[in-house]
């Protein structure tokens, strides 16, 4: 096998990455200008199709980097997989947790028993808002729905998140809207998975690059996997560690391959205007904002005769609820009360039984009072396709079983990345043990693979341990997450490797088991109570934490028994030598 000079490889990598992007951007812009469709549809279709083109150019650019095609794909798989794999692992673990972000947020605000909202919830909410914020320009009501059984209210001078008040959540036991502890809840994990808590757009760009490399690794992985169908069910845990890890990597890779491809592609599409803004710029010029306005159906505000009194309108909507608003289709209401404006009610509907999640922010009109929302709105192919892809990525449409499947697929993806990293080491263990690169990967693997779950556990624990009235406590919870991650990485680089693994796994087992304990000691909704009262959200969360603690405990036992057998081997080796 002819090996390529490093500089040459770097040049080619840069050329394929940069050139591929330019080709994809030109391709998307041409489609956006030429397709015989509405403006928004042309732009979105062009951008959606540009990513496969980019990937194709990238793969062609690398197809002869190492002599033959298969060797080149092997090379591409190894390096595109490795280079941002720790970032990918962080994205996948926090992203997988985000499938339950609403549940996590509810667990992190234990003050409110937020389930079993009575059917007249809209009246409850508007009455509370009249009392709490009679003068506010905007009211926001978060309605209970399948993923989030809570009813909460916010208000402010605009609908920007930063301008809104802290939420009040409806509490079953007091029958009132009550303030809850300051926390970012599951939203932090969700935001972290695409912004990585980096300043400006750095996080978004890093995540985009990592996702692109993941696409390249998946495609080249399918090419290099010689026995994809023949080894479809093959897992040989008893064989050599390298063989078992390879089987595990192949298994998690192939069985959830549709999920991996889908989540990578739709992830790029979700942040499409950051990654591929060119078709948008080509068609709209400076007015790029118009794309999103045109992506929603523009509807007329309520006619003047119907503008009398906000509550009247909301009550009318309530009456229409039976027909148009059933099944928790509407997740959020924005009520604009600014002076001189007719009172508008906007909604973020979610259509049960359909994937798409682009039907957001519809201004409610008379039409909505008589018909289901879905019949009022029709979308062009580009808008519909993007809505479907974003919907698939977020998984909001999923029933609890399907949500669990998505969650398992996310775990499989994390396992695929982790096992890929282990394999990279195994393949090089005999060759270049002392190499600097090898040691770097060895340490980073430990720091990130264990640091991520440790950081999440600290985040949950901080939520229970920090005083509820502490100023800026939401920020401190986030600090707990970030510092734990940093400490785990530093610890991985400073301690002897085997002790570091042992210590971090022990820590993970302890922290995850401590979460239900802290919950039981510091709130009135500990595991015994939640099991007895049927508080399934709390019971489920605590049980999952216990399962995670047990999994790490089991890993610790495996590690200890392996260490013992290794040291016995050494002892018997020594005996043989003495003998």
């Amino acid at each position: 096998m002819e090996s390529i000079r490093p500089l040459n490889a770097l040049m080619r990598a840069m050329l394929s990455l940069g050139g591929g992007y330019v080709i994809a951007a030109v391709f998307a812009s041409i489609l956006a200008l030429l397709l015989p469709l509405a403006r928004a549809d042309r732009v979105l279709l062009g951008a959606i199709l540009s990513f496969p083109v980019y990937l194709l150019v990238l793969c062609i650019g690398y197809s002869s980097i190492r002599g033959g095609f298969r060797q080149s794909m092997n090379w591409l798989h190894t390096w595109s997989g490795l280079i941002l794999s720790w970032v990918l692992y962080l994205i996948f673990v926090t992203g997988t947790a985000s499938y339950y972000k609403d549940h996590i947020s509810l667990w992190m605000t234990p003050e409110a028993q937020a389930n079993d909202v009575p059917p007249n919830f809209l009246q409850l909410a508007t009455r509370a808002l009249e009392q709490q914020a009679p003068d506010a320009a905007h009211w926001v009501i978060d309605l209970p729905h399948q993923r989030n059984p809570a009813l909460s209210i916010k208000w402010g001078e605009s609908t920007l998140t930063s301008a809104l008040s802290a939420p009040l959540i409806w509490d079953r036991s007091s029958g009132n809207f009550i303030p809850v502890r300051d926390t970012e809840g599951g939203e932090f994990l969700f935001r972290f998975h695409y912004r990585l808590h980096l300043p400006g757009s750095w996080g978004i760009w890093l995540v985009g690059l990592a996702t692109l490399l993941l696409c390249a690794a998946l495609v080249s992985g399918v090419v290099v996997h010689r026995r994809l169908l023949r080894d479809f069910f093959t897992f040989r845990p008893g064989k050599s560690p390298r063989r078992s890890w390879l089987d595990f990597h192949n298994l998690t890779g192939t069985l959830a391959l549709p999920f991996h491809l889908m989540i990578a592609y739709t992830g790029l599409i979700t942040l499409l205007s950051s990654y591929m803004p060119w078709p948008q710029k080509a068609v709209y010029g400076e007015e790029t904002r118009l794309l999103f306005e045109e992506s929603y159906v523009q509807s007329e505000p309520l006619p003047p005769g119907r503008q009398d009194g906000l509550l009247d309108n909301v009550t009318r909507l309530l009456e229409a609820e039976g027909r148009a608003w059933d099944d928790g289709n509407v997740e959020r209401l924005f009520i604009d009360r600014s002076d001189g404006m007719p009172p508008l009610v906007e909604s973020w509907p979610r259509y049960s039984g359909q994937i798409s999640r682009f039907h957001s922010r519809t201004t409610l009109t008379e039409a909505h009072l008589d018909k289901p929302l879905a019949e009022v709105e029709r979308y062009g192919p580009g808008v519909a396709l993007r809505g479907g892809m974003v919907g698939l990525h977020l998984g909001h449409f999923a029933n609890p079983w399907l949500r669990a499947l998505f969650f398992l697929c996310g775990i499989a993806a994390s396992g695929m990345i982790a096992s890929g990293l282990v394999l990279w080491l195994r393949k090089r263990a005999s060759r270049q043990q002392a190499g600097l690169g090898y040691q770097l990967v060895e340490r980073m693997n430990l720091g990130i693979l264990m640091g991520t779950p440790l950081a999440i556990a600290s985040f949950f624990l901080a939520n229970r341990l920090l005083p509820a009235a502490m100023p800026g406590r939401a920020g401190w919870e986030v600090q707990a997450f970030l510092w734990t991650l940093l400490v785990a990485v530093v610890h991985a680089f400073t301690r002897p490797l085997t002790s570091a693994w042992r210590e971090q796994i022990t820590m993970a087992a302890l922290l995850f088991s401590a979460i239900p304990l802290a919950n039981a000691l510091l709130t009135s909704r500990g595991l015994p109570t939640s099991l007895a009262t049927g508080d399934w959200l709390f019971a489920g969360f605590d049980l999952i934490m216990l399962v995670l603690g047990a999994v790490f405990g089991w890993m610790l036992l495996l590690l200890l028994s392996r260490e013992r057998s290794l040291s016995q081997d050494e002892a018997s080796d020594a005996m043989v030598r003495i003998g």
Binding site: F232, F233, G353, Q354, I355, F406, C409
Partner: protein
């Protein structure tokens, strides 16, 4: 659940349709005809699993659910083959029995 069981049976049939897994499960190699029969029935069951999902939900949601179920079923079959190969047929029967009772 019916959709998932169909996917599970499909995966069991398809895995038994591979001679190396058939040897592990049954203790003896199968000849070409039963292998082919298993393969064909595996693919048919796979389609039936898709139909069961698409008929119940919106077709798009049904397809997503079906793909997830195939993945989970294949993972369970792979684990059973790795640790308790002899139990594979019983495993499928047990699950469908539990479903019929429950």
């Amino acid at each position: 659940m019916a959709g998932f069981l169909l996917c599970l049976f499909s995966m069991i049939a398809l895995s038994l349709g591979m001679s190396k897994h058939a040897r592990d499960v049954l203790g003896q190699p199968l000849s070409a005809t039963p292998l082919l029969l298993l393969k064909v029935s595996g693919w048919l069951l796979l389609l039936a699993g898709m139909w069961a999902n698409v008929a119940r939900e919106d077709w798009s949601v049904g397809l997503v659910q079906w793909i997830g179920q195939v993945g989970l079923a294949a993972f369970l079959v792979a684990l059973t083959l790795a640790y308790w190969p002899r139990c594979l047929p019983w495993f499928g029967l047990l699950l469908s029995g539990a479903w019929l009772l429950g």
